[in-house]
C-alpha cells in the first residue's frame, strides 16, 4: 500500500472522529495523525482503557491494536472482568495481550484465525477505523472495572 494512499484513506476515516462524538461516547482522542489513532474510552465508574491503532498500510491491512493504561504505558496486566474480545494471553507474534476480534491485525495473524482473511471485511462500514473502535468500545462497555 502506498503511504500516500494509506494516509488519504486514514484521514477520510478519522475525519468524523470529532470532539463532539468523543464527548457523546466518552472517547478522548490523543492522536488522530496518520498512522496512529490513540484513543481512551471512559465511562462512569470505569477504569479508562486506552487503545492505540497503528494503521500503517491502511486499509490493505487491518490496524495493529495495543492496550494501554491511561498514561499511555503498555497494559501488562489483563483487564478486570474482560469480555470476549480481550485476550489476556500473549499473542504468538506480538507477544502481548491483544484484541482478538475481526478487524484487528492480531486476530487475522493469529494461527487460529488465519483462515478468516481481512480481505472479506475490508471496506465494510463496520470495519472502518471508527467501526473497529466502536466494536471494541461496545465490548469494553459490557465489562466492568
Amino acid at each position: 500500500m502506498h503511504p500516500a494512499a494509506a494516509k488519504a484513506l486514514f484521514d477520510a476515516d478519522v475525519a468524523m472522529l470529532t470532539p463532539a462524538l468523543g464527548k457523546r461516547r466518552g472517547w478522548t482522542f490523543h492522536s488522530l495523525a496518520f498512522p496512529l489513532v490513540d484513543c481512551s474510552f471512559t465511562a462512569s465508574g470505569r477504569t479508562p482503557l486506552r487503545l492505540r491503532l497503528m494503521c500503517i498500510d491502511w486499509n490493505e491491512l487491518p490496524p495493529e491494536i495495543s492496550l494501554h493504561n491511561a498514561d499511555g504505558t503498555l497494559l501488562t496486566t489483563p483487564l478486570a472482568n474482560p469480555t470476549g474480545v480481550f485476550n489476556g494471553s500473549p499473542h504468538p507474534v506480538a507477544n502481548r495481550q491483544f484484541i482478538c476480534m475481526r478487524g484487528s491485525r492480531e486476530y487475522h495473524t493469529h494461527p487460529s484465525h488465519v483462515g478468516d482473511p481481512w480481505e472479506n471485511l475490508r471496506g465494510h462500514s463496520s470495519y472502518t477505523i471508527g467501526g473497529i473502535l466502536t466494536q471494541i468500545w461496545n465490548a469494553w462497555l459490557k465489562g466492568t472495572g
Binding site: M16, L21, G84, M101, S126, T128, G131, I132, Q135, N138
Partner: protein
C-alpha cells in the same frame, strides 16, 4: 399608487385573511387531530419528516414528539442539532435517513442505543420511541455491535 393597485392590494389582503383563518381553524384542527391519533399507519407514513409540525401555530403538544440526534463514526444526523419526530414513529425511520445522509453502505449487525448517565441502553429500531419508553431529547448512538472473534 393608482386605484387599480389599491383595489388589487385590498383583494389580496382579504384572500390572505381568509386563508389564514382556514389554516388556523379547520386545517389546523385537522392536523392536530392527525398527530394526536395514535397507531394510525397513515400518520406514520406522512408525519416522519423533521420539523413537520413546526410553524403550525403551536397546536401540537410536546408530548407527541421527541427530539433526536443520531451519532455514528460516519457523522451525526442531523449534522447539527436535533430532528423533531413523532413519538409514535419507528426509530428505524430516522436511522435509515441517517444511513442515506451519511452514506453508510451497510449497517448489518449495527445496534442503536441511547446514552444516559447510567450507561448505554439498547433501543429496538423496529419499535416506536414510545414503545421503547423514550421521550424528550434523545441522543441515539448507532454502530456495529461488539465484534466477533475471541
Amino acid at each position: 399608487m393608482n386605484v387599480n393597485n389599491i383595489v388589487f392590494t385590498a383583494i389580496n389582503a382579504s384572500i390572505n385573511s381568509v386563508l389564514m383563518a382556514i389554516d388556523n381553524t379547520f386545517i389546523g384542527q385537522l392536523l392536530y387531530a392527525y398527530v394526536t391519533t395514535a397507531g394510525s399507519p397513515v400518520k406514520e407514513q406522512t408525519m416522519n419528516t423533521e420539523h413537520s409540525m413546526e410553524g403550525e401555530g403551536g397546536h401540537e403538544s410536546h408530548d407527541h414528539f421527541v427530539e433526536v440526534s443520531i451519532s455514528t463514526t460516519a457523522g451525526f444526523f442531523p449534522a447539527e442539532g436535533f430532528s423533531r419526530v413523532p413519538v409514535n414513529q419507528k426509530v428505524d425511520v430516522e436511522l435509515q435517513k441517517a444511513k442515506e445522509a451519511l452514506k453508510i453502505k451497510d449497517t448489518a449487525g449495527w445496534i442503536a442505543s441511547v446514552i444516559t448517565p447510567a450507561g448505554k441502553r439498547p433501543v429496538d429500531p423496529a419499535k416506536t420511541y414510545a414503545e421503547n419508553g423514550l421521550s424528550g431529547k434523545l441522543e441515539i448512538d448507532w454502530g456495529p455491535s461488539e465484534g466477533g472473534g475471541g
